[in-house]
């Protein structure tokens, strides 16, 4: 009897002991932020490992609580993942790879996206107050802020500058604001197309995708979308590509460093692809329909398409190669909106 118990106890000890691996370690794979159920739901964080295992709500597994309402933006650096909760008005900071919450930054109205600055602090755009905040990396407290134009949306760090697209919120804007990342002062404004919603940098060029505007009052105030290229050094607009379809409302600009990708429309659009040497805005989609979010891995150049389906079911992530071949797919949460690959 004693021997049996000893053997059983040893087996348990060996089984439960995983040296050099913390509890709930999720490690290499794709992390997908899901907005969550409409109205009173909560966001979730799905982990799709490189071994094809899926953890539907990895944040809850690690922290035994929910993220909060309406996940909107996801960002990562080497050892942290940052999730922006627009409804819960907070920035959740998680340790990687165990996803244990380090803390929550609060004090926002309607935060949209985050960007890690050179010194490790986090910049956050906020529609509710038309402001950009700086959050301390150590205390997670708001330490600085600057007023931006209407609807500050996408953030891009370039050298010691922070570029902010002013998307217009529920109205119209057409500027990109440039902020000194050290002093957090507005230093320049670049006029672009209507309602710039996303940006990427390739080399010394910054591409700004402008979504256009639909006048739902029927007064004929529709404005076309466009893709704008800016020289990062001179801040001059060097190219302007008007969208082909007058009703196109492109969004989610991404890049693998060599090619540009975006979604043609707000809820269920096609994936568009454009070589930076192209002379015109692409006329035809690269991957057809049903796409809500987009992520491109700059290392592998794989394209991850986030399909929200009917916005009520669990969504789906589809992984495509650079050549457009479907490699694999996995189930995500309700309304997958953003993703990041962690090595």
């Amino acid at each position: 009897m004693k021997t049996t118990l000893l053997l059983i106890g040893s087996a348990f000890a060996l089984w439960s002991c995983e040296p050099n691996k913390p509890m709930n370690s999720f490690q290499t794979g794709l992390y997908i932020l899901n907005e969550g159920a409409f109205m009173g739901g909560t966001a979730t964080l799905t982990h799709w490992s490189d071994q094809d295992s899926i953890t539907p709500d990895a944040f809850f597994v690690a922290n035994a609580r929910n993220l909060g309402n309406l996940g909107n933006g996801l960002r990562a650096d080497g050892n942290r993942i940052y999730a922006v909760l627009s409804g819960a008005a907070s920035l959740e900071v998680m340790e990687y790879p165990d996803l244990v919450s380090i803390g929550r930054a609060t004090g926002f109205a309607s935060p949209r996206h985050a960007m890690v600055l050179q010194n490790g602090d986090i910049a956050l755009s906020d529609w509710g107050r038309n402001r950009v905040y700086r959050v301390s990396k150590s205390s997670l407290a708001i330490v600085d802020s600057v007023d931006a134009a209407t609807g500050p949306e996408a953030l891009l760090a370039y050298q010691n500058e922070l570029w902010v697209s002013c998307s217009g919120g529920y109205a119209i804007d057409s500027t990109v604001a440039i902020i000194d990342a050290s002093t957090f002062d507005l230093i320049a404004t670049v006029p672009v197309g209507i309602n710039p919603t996303s940006m990427v940098r390739m080399g010394n060029s910054i591409y700004v995708l402008c979504s256009g505007f639909t006048d739902y009052s029927g007064a004929g105030g529709d404005r076309a979308a466009s893709l704008v290229r800016i020289d990062a050094t001179t801040r001059a607009v060097t190219a302007n590509y008007p969208a082909v379809g007058i009703a196109d409302r492109p969004t989610r600009l991404q890049s693998d460093g060599q090619v540009l990708y975006w979604i043609r429309d707000g809820y269920t659009g096609d994936v568009m692809r454009m070589d930076p040497t192209a002379l015109d805005y692409p006329a035809y989609p690269w991957i057809g329909g049903g796409v809500y979010g987009l992520y491109v891995d700059p290392t592998t150049r794989d394209v991850y398409v986030l399909d929200a389906k009917d916005f009520q079911q669990n969504g789906e992530v589809r992984r495509y190669s650079f050549s457009g071949q479907l490699i694999s797919r996995a189930e995500a949460g309700v309304v997958p909106t953003a993703a990041v690959w962690m090595p």
């Binding site: 159920a37 809820y267 929200a308 916005f311």
Partner: protein, 588 residues
């Protein structure tokens, strides 16, 4: 009175007719005394729906703080509500809320733009709500009363109802602070904020006659201000504030002879709603809805059979920043027959035709057979009907997203019910084609026709009484799915209610056990969109004196987390006190 005698039977049916038929202004006069067998209850001809006259399983008396979520849920009604005493929408038998038919004075109450009716905008003073097989009926209490209620949520209300021979008067006033503890998504406990409501209602009726023509006018007006609380998954903050002002007037003329009957009803509804949300720089919105209509009915009866016709013409109008052109004319023509084919066997049939704007609807047939056994110990009832619902003003004209190409919904429903002294069992099945639901399309949400909504369900009721003990079991099961086999949102697949009552002299003690299965809140199998199963236990202690009664009610006695909408917790344990005094001596 010996109910087994012929006169006793007639008297019993006349009493039943009076109880069921009193609030329905378009009711025909009781049948001729020349009938040799007992007559069955009258079945009214109503605009757009057919009422079985089935005995309701639960009566919901109105209270000063309105119809409580607990009482509604106990009667098997599916309910959506984000906070106590706030706006609430109900659905029946697996159908969406916009298929719920609520009648007041023979007129269907529903908002012309949304197509559904907020319970908080229903008249409540001096009325009770009765759930029947097809819908809900608000019926006037023939006894005047004064009621006061208060609760530990910081709520208080008053109901005054004075019915008279030629005039009725009702007043209802209440204020709800709705302060209760809840846990947010981080597990932090807070006092609920932004869920307060204030409501004022005035209701009046006038009756007169000009020769043989009876004239009546019914009016009610409601002012409601409510906070729309934020979900528990966002920071604790004040949400939006909504104000509603609604006035409804119905005027009716009736004429009855031995064989002929005629009535005309005119109605008008004026409603205004404002919305104010402080975030995003402030969002203010206002909407106005108006409805004008007329109904003309006529009927002929002879030898136990009757034939009726009805014509309804309504103009529906709405104005607001998101309604580009919202005005439409709706018409309905109905023909209905009923009678007795054999002792205790009654039939009903009907044809109805709807028209909205330029679109003519489908012919809608109806057939029903009903049989009661001698002594009224058992009965059965089967019904088959086709129904149709046109898109609402918001469906057609909302900007952005309104869809003028929408097709009207069309459906069939069949029902069968068997009743016995001990209880009843009802089964139903239905299919709804081209059901209208809003969904994201391109860059906006817009309503679209989905292929079908199929549903089957059963309602079981059983009562048991022995001495001072009375127990009831009410179970509902419904399977309501779309063509993708997704369950209908906000329809609980299964509910079980077991009220238990004990009476001793002037005291009455009652315990309500309610079990509600996990319920979807979207067309989704994702458990992130489902509300988990819920159990609730309520208890009440009533003392009935000669001149008044007092009730202590403990709701959610075990302090369970209760949700009717994802992310919006309802109160935990709460205590309320109600004092009710019938105002006897008022001339009836």
């Amino acid at each position: 009175m010996n109910l087994c005698s012929q006169r006793g039977l007639k008297a019993a049916w006349l009493l039943a007719i009076t109880l069921y038929g009193a609030p329905l202004g378009a009711q025909a006069a009781p049948w001729s005394d020349s009938l040799t067998s007992a007559s069955l209850p009258e079945v009214s001809v109503l605009g757009g729906r057919w009422q079985t006259g089935a005995k309701p399983s639960v009566q919901l008396p109105s209270k000063p703080m309105g119809w409580s979520a607990s009482a509604l849920l106990r009667s098997g009604i599916d309910l959506r509500q984000t906070g106590p005493t706030g706006s609430a929408w109900i659905s029946l038998d697996g159908l969406p809320s916009n298929h719920t038919w609520i009648q007041w004075e023979g007129m269907a109450l529903s908002a012309a733009d949304l197509g559904i009716m907020d319970l908080q905008l229903l008249p409540s003073a001096g009325l009770s709500m009765q759930r029947s097989a097809d819908g809900l009926r608000l019926s006037s209490d023939s006894i005047g009363s004064l009621s006061l209620e208060s609760s530990t949520l910081g709520n208080a209300g008053l109901n005054l109802w004075i019915p008279g021979k030629t005039a009725d008067f009702g007043l209802s006033a209440r204020r709800g602070l709705n302060r209760y503890r809840y846990n947010n998504y981080l597990g932090d406990s807070y006092w609920r904020t932004g869920a307060g409501t204030e409501r004022l209602e005035f209701r009046s009726s006038l009756r007169s006659s000009i020769g043989q023509i009876k004239q009546s006018t019914h009016f009610y007006a409601v002012w409601l201000e409510q906070g729309l609380p934020e979900s528990a998954n966002v920071p604790r903050r004040l949400g939006a504030v909504q104000q509603d002002l609604r006035a409804t007037v119905i005027q009716r003329q009736e004429w009855n002879s031995h064989r002929w009957e005629w009535s005309s009803m005119q109605h008008a509804v004026l409603a205004n709603q404002t919305y104010d949300y402080p975030l995003f720089g402030g969002i203010q919105d206002s909407n106005r809805v108006q409805t004008l209509g007329i109904r003309i009915q006529s009927g002929y009866r002879r030898s136990g059979h009757s034939l009726r016709s009805s014509l309804d013409v309504d103009r529906l109008m709405a104005e607001g920043p998101n309604k580009s052109e919202a005005s439409i004319l709706r018409m309905q023509l109905m023909l209905r027959g009923e009678g007795i084919v054999a002792p205790m066997l009654r039939y009903s049939w009907g044809l109805s035709q709807l028209r909205q704007g330029d679109e003519l609807g489908t012919l809608l047939p109806f057939a029903e057979l009903q049989r009661k056994s001698l002594g009224q110990k058992a009965s059965w009832n089967v019904k088959l009907h086709r129904h149709q619902r046109f898109p609402t003003l918001n469906d057609l004209f909302w900007s952005p997203g309104g869809n003028p190409e929408l097709r009207p919904e069309r459906g069939w429903e069949s029902r069968a019910k068997a009743s016995h002294r001990m209880g009843s069992l009802e089964a139903y099945a239905g299919i709804l084609r081209d059901a209208i639901f809003w969904m994201p399309t391109g860059s906006v949400w817009m309503p679209r026709n989905v292929e079908s909504l199929r549903r089957i369900g059963m309602n079981l009721n059983s009562t048991w009484q022995r001495g001072p003990w009375h127990c009831q079991i009410a179970a509902q099961w419904v399977y309501s799915i779309n063509n993708s086999v997704m369950r209908m949102p906000f329809v609980a697949p299964f509910t079980l209610n077991i009220p238990l009552r004990y009476q001793h002299k002037k005291w009455e003690f009652e315990v309500f056990n309610r079990l509600r299965s996990a319920t979807p809140t979207a067309w989704s199998t994702s458990r992130d969109t489902w509300i988990g199963p819920q159990f609730q236990l309520d208890a009440s202690l009533r003392w009935k004196g000669q001149r008044s009664s007092v009730e202590f009610a403990l709701t959610n006695a075990t302090n369970q987390p209760i949700y009717l909408q994802l992310g919006y917790p309802l109160p935990g344990r709460q205590l309320s006190l109600t004092w009710h005094c019938p105002l006897t001596g008022i001339a009836q």
